[in-house]
Amino acid sequence: MAHSSHPGRIGTANVGSLGVDSRKLGVWTFIGSEALFFAALITTYLVFAPVNMARADAQNPKEYLDIWLTSVLAALLLASSLTMVLALAAVRRGDMKLFRVWLLATVGLGFSFLGGQVYEFTELYHHGATLSSSLFGTTFFVLTGFHGTHVLIGAIWLLSVFFKVQRYPDSPETVMDVELGGLYWHFVDLVWVVIFTVIYLI
């Protein structure tokens, strides 16, 4: 049997019967679950979009949203995916200095995105779009807010990778740690692309 060369072992960093690292398999599964989470939120948004417009208290997203601001935000997030790729490449090469730069850049871009989102939310509130102002407000803030929360979680995840590498520079798991954080980060970015398309472009 092909498997016999991969004895099962417990703990982390374990290449098991499937030939994939267990943690990686775990993160992929988690991402699968998260994908359905966002699918349900996005479905809710899409269900209510026409209902919102048909109501007397409708708030037209086109009038409230600043497509330029969010385009910049989207660009920030996409750029962070790029720096994430560079960080992983650097750590694979063993270039720890560049790795640190790219990883911190990724986190920084993530936080700038969040800053932009906070700015966007406050602007919207000042213009009368709130959680309770309309179905648009209800669905928009919950969807993008939960996405923002996930960006925050991703950023904290990457920071924890950063500190772990600082603390245990010789850990043989470093590359995998970075790869997993990156995987999740790319997922969060990808969700933003979908949300951006659904809310801002269509």
Binding site: G11, S22, T29, S33, D57, L131
Partner: protein, 630 residues
Amino acid sequence: MAIAQGHVGHVSAPPATTVPAGLAGWLSTVDHKRIGIIYMLAAFVFFIIGGIEALLMRVQLGTPENTFLTPDFYNQLFTMHGTTMIFLAVMPMNVGLGNYVVPLMIGARDMAFPRLNAMSVWLFILGGLMLYFSFFAGGAPNVGWFAYAPLTQKPYSPTFGVDYWILGLLLTGVASIAGALNFIVTILNMRAPGLSLNRMPLFVWMQLIVGFILVFAFPALTVAQIELLFDRHFGTRFFVPSQGGDAVLWQHLFWFFGHPEVYILILPVMGIVSETLPTFSRKPIFGYAFVAFSGVAIGFLGFLVWAHHMFGVGLGPLANAFFAGASFLIAVPTGVKIFNWIATMYDGALSLTTSMLYSIGFIAMFIIGGLSGITLASPPVDLQQTDSYYVVAHLHYVLFGGSILGLFAGVFYWFPKVTGRMLDERLGKVQFWLMMISFNVTFFPMHIIGTDGMPRRIYTYESGMGWDLWNLVATVGAFLMAASVLLFLWNLMVSLRRGAPAGNDPWDAATLEWSVSSPPPPHNFDQIPVVHSRRPLWDHKYPEHAGDGHGASAPDPLVAGFEQPAIHLPSPTYHPLILGVGLTTLFFGILYSSIPPLSISLAVVGLALVAFAIVGWVRDSHKDSPYAAH
């Protein structure tokens, strides 16, 4: 027995992980076996509580116009009973058995993520406790276990009950998703050499399928609950029809989760009887591939039938026809499994142990539940039967007659492995027959009163409808069922102390968990076995009856043919528990959002605990890395 133990001499001494004694050892454990035991004990406690709630309701319904309970308390009871049995009893019982048995069955030393495993069990218990705390905090939820909108909105449900329902279940939801992920990775990635997917025990197969169902179904419930939470606390209007919200959307989200959920409850049990029936028939399962793939088919189709819970909602004939068709279709793989089980027994050498009796009882009752399911899947018929006691009968035939009876089969089967002692068979058989009879006395009449027009979820009914006699019969039956459960409890306590010693392999079984001592050592296997067939232990014991029917007879599976990995167990840690407590505290903070000082302090404490736990967790994981220098 001499099997795996015989190899001890060849490998390094068992690991020297220090496990704290007593309670501390349990609170900090990361051992899948201990975690499994905690799951099962907690699930059993919740099962008893849910049962007491049921008895109270049965007393109230025993006679017409009874005034034993107030209406509102009755409404709290049926909500908590349903929620408890589904989320806090049957699900965690399945998870607990899986936790204990799956790594042993696949020749692994633990689950893939032992600390995540610990976090899951604590979050499940804390979520359950949080839900029950509502009784002392202004009243339990009183909206039914599926909490239809807009009754759950603040104006109609002003107490904190619904909030406890949301947040308590969100905690158990996190536990479930983390647990499912753990099962998936463990099963896919931790199998012993040679244990390919098509050699996996069927119990493991079913746990794998359930893992996937859970991971994909739970997010829908999570989203629905979050949206409801926002409606109640932060002024949104997802489910507020008067402001454009959509009451039916709740049902879609809920049942997109809810129907797969019923398979989450039944598939592991189908896995259990797919182990017990072959063992007690001394035959292999009939049609291994059919049983495994019908499980996959059920898991997949389960995502396409949710609206059969909504035939009366007015989705239109076309949609109803689609969901009816898909629901009929799902009967086919279910039927296949039943035929395969019967064929497994056919021409076997049956030993009617208590476990076997429960397995047979499971099949017998599940058939009835399946058939009443067929009538309910027909939209026109459903319109007469939905929301009536007929549905109550149906769901108890599949959940009690199905899941619970099957779980008893599993408990009687694996109890010797877990404790090293046998449960008393004589008591067990008495209990089985009492259970079978009282179960049918309780629930069969509900088909009749449902057909006679008795709606569900009513705390009282008038006399003269023809329901009085059957309701009284059901109430009597319920108390007999309680007696049967008490008998089991007695058996449990007596056998724990004085049960006959079990030995490694009391049932002459076929799978790997029976090759190690009872209870197994902390590291499970001194030597990881190499597997060559579906029945490794059987083939070892009966080489002349080995093989999986395709001619080839296999080499002895229990002789290691490769370099053994060093035994390495993760150290005990409190961080998963602390994380759970932190998250629960945070959730209490959210719940009391209307009282800012309380809310904020709870949230801050909660977040601090979470942060502390995560930092510690990262340190633990570094320390336990197989590569880390010690």
